[in-house]
């Protein structure tokens, strides 16, 4: 193989495929990036079995071929090269010779013969969404996936398409996050569970532009994300997702409107008085037209009063402050509406058209 390309286009490609490089595998190829030059294009590939990425970079091909290189060494080395043209060629012993300005370097490579390419994904079922919307909807739901591998399905997110609506759901046993996104057109109905890790990596790779589209192709076992010169393939999680419809209720006894930023900051302050080992809830006293946040510990005490608009009964209810903060942080509205039934039933943070619903279980508190 003999190719040349700019440092920036090679670095950009390496950064993209590196997201699919295994950090601590002992299987050499999982830690490698494959550079493959055909007659028409230069492709970089990495694949750690869970997720595989390939991207095409610009450059000149003098001789087709391929080579696999340790991803970390390649990435560190290219990052430090001058911002100039890079010439890469390989010999029969899989030595990679790199030239850039007045620098010459040899890196050891391997043949890439047994490299895991991305699986072929049938393109029957797909949806298209702006990179901005996909990135947003991941950010707004990813915090409530579970990291417990024994509840595998909770480590992923439900992507459900009904005509022109994409619904994304994550839950961890204490809370549920639901976001609905209006798509530009209708697609076939689909329902898949995408691993949280995959979504985290996708979020980092896509630019997030409002006008940049990304296409998602789904089969029973895989999802393919296709955008610009890049393809990302991930396994799906197998199984049935939780029936969340039956957990969502519109009944309430107490409904409050509260300024989001004030509420978030107040909860944030109160957490200073909780030692992590204590796992103490914060207590909200909803009375007439205000919430009193109370916290009292060996570290000190705090009492803050927030003005609210209230409908229904007064209520005293306790929460894990992190769960409230996680949800409030990803809501852009100035005022949020919270629906509660009693101190033991889940509370709902929801806007009028239910484009977001955050369900949070309270923590039982002494009466």
């Amino acid at each position: 193989m003999k190719i040349s390309c700019s440092k920036s286009s090679l670095m950009n490609g390496i950064n993209i495929v590196s997201k699919a490089v295994s950090a601590k595998s002992t299987m050499t190829n999982l830690q490698c990036i494959l550079i493959e030059a055909s007659l028409s294009e230069i492709k970089l590939v990495a694949n750690n079995i869970e997720i595989g990425i390939e991207t095409i970079i610009e450059g000149n091909i003098m001789e087709a071929g391929k080579i696999a290189l340790d991803a970390k060494i390649l990435s560190d080395f290219v990052r430090k090269l001058p911002d100039s043209e890079i010439l890469i060629d390989t010999n029969d012993n899989y030595q990679v010779h790199i030239r850039c300005e007045r620098l010459e370097s040899n890196l050891p490579g391997t043949s890439g013969e047994d490299f895991n390419y991305l699986p072929e994904i049938s393109k029957d079922k797909y949806m298209s969404i702006s990179q901005f919307s996909l990135k947003e909807v991941i950010r707004q739901t990813i915090f409530s996936i579970s990291d417990q591998e024994n509840t595998k399905i909770m480590t992923g997110e439900l992507f459900e398409i009904n005509n022109d609506i994409l619904k994304v759901v994550s839950l961890d046993g204490h809370r549920i996050s639901i976001r609905s996104v209006q798509l530009k057109e209708s697609f076939d109905n689909m329902k898949v569970i995408v691993p949280g890790k995959t979504l985290n990596e996708i979020s980092k790779i896509i630019s997030g532009g409002v006008d940049d589209e990304i296409r998602l192709y789904m089969t029973d076992k895989h999802i393919l994300f296709e955008f610009e010169q890049t393809k990302v393939v991930s396994r799906l999680l197998e199984g049935e997702f939780y029936r969340i419809e039956q957990m969502i209720s519109n009944d309430y006894e107490t409904r409050i409107d509260v300024n989001k930023t004030e509420f978030l900051n107040s909860i944030d302050r109160s957490t200073l008085f909780i030692r992590e080992s204590d796992r103490k809830p914060i207590i909200l006293n909803i009375e007439q037209s205000s919430i009193h946040l109370n916290i009292n510990s060996s570290l000190g005490s705090m009492n803050e009063e927030l003005e609210i608009k209230k409908e229904g009964k007064d209520l005293r209810i306790g929460f894990n402050p992190k769960f409230l903060m996680d949800a409030l942080r990803v809501i852009d509205d100035e005022t949020v509406t919270i629906y509660m039934v009693n101190a033991k039933s889940p509370c709902f943070i929801r806007n009028e058209d239910s484009s977001y619903i955050y369900v949070i279980l309270p923590v039982s508190i002494a009466a």
Copy 2:
């Protein structure tokens, strides 16, 4: 004590004195900040014996008094308060009552009776320098102090004043950094060894403005830094500093001029091929009008050629790449001049008026 002040002025004061709070002391007062209100001013104090800081903040004093508070809790709490007026008062049980907007909080305090105030420093001997110059000269020398407590004097920097010249020296047994700064006026001749930790903290606190002066008062045992509303007192290191004059020579067999950025970047790239555990030197081959940087390891190899201007003999010499990079990073000149004698004698990176001299011992290499 009963005072009020803005969040920003309290936070600013806390940030300054926190640099003298001990992180892991079990002596309570060393982890505390003392707030003391006299009839005329509100002072914050922290003192971990090595270094003590006091600063005056703006505010209103309704009742004089003092209180000591856990520095970390106070700092975390004030940081999260709304950007508004804060009212602080204390009761007879040393409970600290803090009010801010619609928030009330109680933090446990202590009397502050046995708090270590800053020692009184005689102001006979002093020098004055711009904060910018002090910050720069610390940055340009601090990397070559030693972190070995058994060579205590090497953990500090020599500050030597001769008329209107401040000379700052640090060394660690493998290299010496010397910077000379022209002062605006002449001062009494002085020579002290300031702990590196103190200089690091001073660097973080001062704004670094060219027009902001800082005064340094020195006694046999202490140094006092005074600027704006803040005083920092540190112990000095006792003992005689190394006689560096006899280590500095003007003789050379090889003198080269090299582009600083190219040289630095090239060394930086070469370090990728050195495993930390190997401690391999990089080898410079100085031949005619170029340097060849050679590195060869199990990770790969690199050879880069840099154009230079040379005077004297050709030379093959090995260095710890970190030592070269540390020095080159803090030199602002586009071209640096390096003086060498042979592969075993120290090399000197020095400008024409010797306002900087970096001395680096080579690493012996196979012939």
